[in-house]
């Protein structure tokens, strides 16, 4: 992926020689230093940006444009401020012609699932950051996407809320287990959530290593256990140290 330079500036190669495959129902986390192009990878996967070279497929279908089969959750929530919680979640369903009875059924399912009963008619401004991101996640999940793309979804939250939301995401995701591509710069978050971790190099972003977390966790993934307990495990800390070791050489000190 090459971005053209503005006003005669050199074009930027954001992502280069980047090839990976995500399996059905897999939770893949891409971790990399700031500015390595990890968000660009996600945006291309979501169809919002067209790669200047190379192709991305969802199943057998070449990704050309954004759509509800590959919903994105953004770092800054991007809720529609003029819509209430219910209306935000319902919007994608309306756009895709889902009839009213089915809309109500799905909303009735997701609002309790994300713990927002009693807030159905609140506007986003009236909610905390964590609650807003729950709505954004529900807004995407309600469409039953084939792949759920999350772009540093918890980066804007404080540390306590982030931990709670990581656990919540696991719980909500476990219900239907859509395929997930999750981008983050937090090693801890990656190790806690992922089946596999793609570690990226600094710009131009390439794949440095793909780490299979399942090899460490075994059949019972630790994301089902509260994070503070997992943190105390040696195997968790070892893996975290290993990923951090891969990453630290790539971080350019500004």
């Amino acid at each position: 992926m090459v971005f053209a330079g503005n006003r005669g500036a050199e074009p930027t190669v954001a992502v280069d020689k980047f090839s990976f495959e995500v399996k059905e129902s897999e939770f893949l986390v891409i971790v990399g230093p700031s500015g390595c192009g990890k968000s660009t990878v996600l945006s291309m996967t979501g169809g919002l940006t067209t790669p200047t070279a190379g192709q991305i497929y969802l199943g057998a279908e070449l990704i050309r444009r954004p759509g509800p089969d590959k919903a994105i959750v953004f770092q800054n929530f991007s809720l529609f401020p003029w819509k209430t919680v219910t209306e935000n979640i319902e919007f994608g369903l309306c756009l895709n012609g889902v009839d009213k009875a089915e809309r109500q059924r799905r909303i009735g399912y997701y609002i309790p699932l994300i713990g927002l009963q009693g807030f159905e008619n609140h506007y986003p401004k009236q909610l905390s950051g964590g609650m807003q991101q729950r709505v954004a996640i529900a807004r995407s999940l309600v469409l039953r996407p084939r792949v759920l793309l999350l772009d540093e979804p918890f980066a804007a939250l404080d540390a306590q809320n982030r931990t709670v939301m990581q656990e919540e995401l696991v719980r909500v995701w476990s219900e239907h287990k859509p395929t997930v591509v999750f981008v983050t710069h937090s090693v801890e978050e990656a190790v806690f959530l992922a089946d596999r971790i793609v570690v990226m190099t600094r710009r131009p972003g390439r794949i440095k290593e793909v780490v299979n977390v399942r090899e460490t966790t075994g059949e019972q993934h630790w994301r089902a256990i509260p994070l503070d307990q997992v943190m105390r495990r040696n195997d968790f800390q070892d893996l975290r140290g290993r990923i951090w070791g891969l990453l630290r050489n790539e971080i350019v000190v500004a």
């Binding site: 979501g46 169809g47 919002l48 444009r65 954004p66 759509g67 509800p68 590959k70 919903a71 994105i72 953004f74 800054n76 991007s78 809720l79 529609f80 401020p81 003029w82 819509k83 919007f91 994608g92 756009l95 895709n96 506007y123 986003p124 401004k125 807004r139 995407s140 469409l143």
Partner: protein, 254 residues
């Protein structure tokens, strides 16, 4: 806080009225230049009975009908044009230069030309009001659409929004607060302009009333005209702010 504002605001008004009364009652300023409050009140009484053939209500009707028709046309043309200019590049290219050239001309500067074109009856004044009100409508709609957060557009596209849905269900609602406040500013501008036009040529209306007072050396009549203009302008603005609160419930007011 609210009470303090109310008390202090009321106090400054009372002090001004008291100063006015003292200055005129003591004869510090001649009655010819500054009529006393009682003289103004007496003029008001005379006017409600009818002055130079028309009552205060007739003047109100005359000014208001011109304002509303000119303003209505400005909203109906200016808002959609501003939205389209911001949304579709070709429209911007066609109308942009025209708007940039015409915009710096102060609305009252159109009055002589409007009289030449449309004569001294209501059509000419309606035209001038239209010219004065269309600019704020158009600019605020344009800026409102241009300022729609790109993330909201991205989010809607990933939810499956078509271009038509993006415009009508995302861009316009997002720009609505700005569009409505532009319409409020336009109404104030229309009100100021009708008075200016009536000062130049009219057979009724508040501008005409002020000029009648001027021609007969009756400062108290002029004062009544000015006070009426102030009260009506204030009331229209206040009414509009209420409408904004009702129409845009997701926004923080105050």
């Amino acid at each position: 806080m609210r009470y303090e504002k109310l008390i202090l605001g009321g106090l400054s008004l009372i002090v001004m009225l008291a100063a006015w009364w003292v200055v005129t009652a003591r004869g510090i300023v001649s009655e010819f230049l500054l009529p006393s409050p009682s003289a103004v009140f007496e003029a008001l009484m005379r006017l409600s009975g009818g002055y130079m053939g028309s009552s205060l209500l007739t003047h109100l009707k005359a000014s208001m009908s011109v304002v509303l028709s000119g303003y209505g046309a400005a909203v109906l043309i200016g808002v959609p044009l501003g939205i389209l200019m911001a949304w579709a590049r070709p429209v911007d290219i066609i109308f942009g230069p025209l708007v940039s050239i015409l915009r710096p001309i102060p609305p009252p500067a159109w009055i002589p030309l409007a009289i030449l074109w449309f004569g001294i009856d209501l059509t000419g004044k309606t035209f001038v009001v239209f010219v004065s009100a269309i600019t704020p409508c158009l600019i605020s709609a344009y800026v409102g659409i241009k300022n729609v957060p790109p993330d909201l557009i991205s989010a809607a596209r990933t939810l499956g929004a078509s271009n038509v849905a993006l415009l009508f269900q995302v861009a316009i609602p997002s720009a609505l607060p700005q569009i409505v406040s532009g319409m409020r500013i336009a109404l104030g501008s229309a009100w100021a302009t009708i008075v200016a036009a009536e000062l130049v040529v009219a057979t009724s209306g508040f501008g005409f009333l002020i000029m009648s007072g001027y021609r007969n050396f009756e400062a108290n009549i002029m004062a009544v005209g000015m006070i009426a203009i102030a009260i009506i302008g204030f009331a229209m603005n206040a009414l509009f702010l209420e409408i904004e609160k009702y129409a845009i419930p997701w926004r923080d007011h105050e």
